[in-house]
Subunit: 221 residues, 2 copies
């Protein structure tokens, strides 16, 4: 098999923080020790027909090997975890619970994280943003508190580090969330453990090294 | 094995529309022909310790068989699709693409659907709701248009009906979204095909039959 081919941007939308979802796929491939290649898209190319054929919503990442194409970071991380050992427990039930945390990260936690990011950052200049923010913060706090209560003093969410932890840590890395995580020291330590993993460090370094292109005109720096 | 045990509410938050996420699990079990039992929760019980032990975020559905407990509707539907035939293609790559559509439903489409539901319904009385709504509608429209373009004149998203279609149809059923789907006749027909499936009809009938309890005081009817 040729190396898997991942798509990412050739520029940084976030000043090198590596918050775009291709970090999840890069991290997963680093965890399982599988080399990969990257197809870099410059600004706008993600919405062009060639990339739309790979990704109907015109985003990154995608994943290709030979004639097989996948989009959705969750589905790609799951595919990686099933293809190479290292991100799923070996027993069927442990694997189902790792998948449960993958969906919890993307369908229960990420929506409130994104809602907060949108309200606190993207929409902060709108007239109505300030009045709306407390409700948004309350929804995020509730989820963080619940997650903190479940994690307790465990190192990872369910036994050894899994694809579920990978996605949960990735979701909790958004800076507007990070500001709120301070109230939950066990969650802050959990995220810190995640990003200290050598595979994450390699993934982030590689992502940054590929961001050689220019941001689109008018992009906030 | 004893029948799987699913949790749902004993009352209807949506006047019998069956929009709470246990419909997804009931529907999946009906599709694969697996009988199941239901543990009904009255209002408030979902936040009590007994249920928190099953579901850290205090929601429904959960899934249990023998000593195995799962939460997250996406993870449960995936587990069902892997345990009984009928919701995944048999080949590995087709299965990965069905999983891709599961994540697309829950991580790309549902967040904008929920954002719209919140803005158009839950928050409609707020001072700032009206000024904010156009942006919310634009985000949902963009996703619906992209999904419509990818579906084209196909019956389902990728070959035969799969767990990916099940979750996508479930997500598109929210009424505030249904109002907007009229602009995309192929999506409207796709949702209509989904809810006409005998397994969905059985699931919805069973859900309604179990909603014998009272709504909490003050719940809008």
């Amino acid at each position: 098999m040729t190396n898997p081919l991942v798509t990412g941007y050739d520029w940084s939308p976030d000043r090198g923080l590596g918050l775009v979802r291709d970090i999840r796929v890069r991290w997963a491939l680093e965890e399982v020790g599988q080399p990969y290649d990257v197809r870099y898209l410059s600004w706008g190319q993600q919405k062009e027909p060639a990339h739309r054929a790979r990704h109907p919503f015109g985003q990154v990442p995608t994943y290709e090997d030979d004639d097989f194409v996948l989009f959705e970071s969750g589905a790609i991380v799951l595919h990686i975890a099933e293809t190479w050992p290292g991100l799923f427990p070996e027993d069927r039930r442990g694997r189902a619970r790792a998948i449960e945390w993958m969906f919890a990260a993307l369908n229960t936690v990420e929506p409130v994280v994104w809602e907060h990011l949108r309200a606190a950052v993207f929409e902060q200049g709108e007239d109505w943003a300030k009045a709306r923010l407390p409700g948004v913060e309350a929804r995020l706090s509730e989820r963080l508190e619940e997650l903190s209560a479940r994690l307790g003093d465990a190192e990872w969410l369910d036994g050894a580090f899994s694809a579920g932890d990978l996605l949960m840590v990735a979701v909790l890395r958004y800076p507007s969330t990070a500001d709120m995580i301070g109230a939950y020291p066990n969650l802050a330590a959990y995220v810190a453990r995640g990003v200290a993993r050598p595979a994450f460090v390699r993934a982030l370094d590689a992502l940054r090294a590929g961001q050689t292109g220019a941001a689109p005109a008018g992009w906030p720096q």
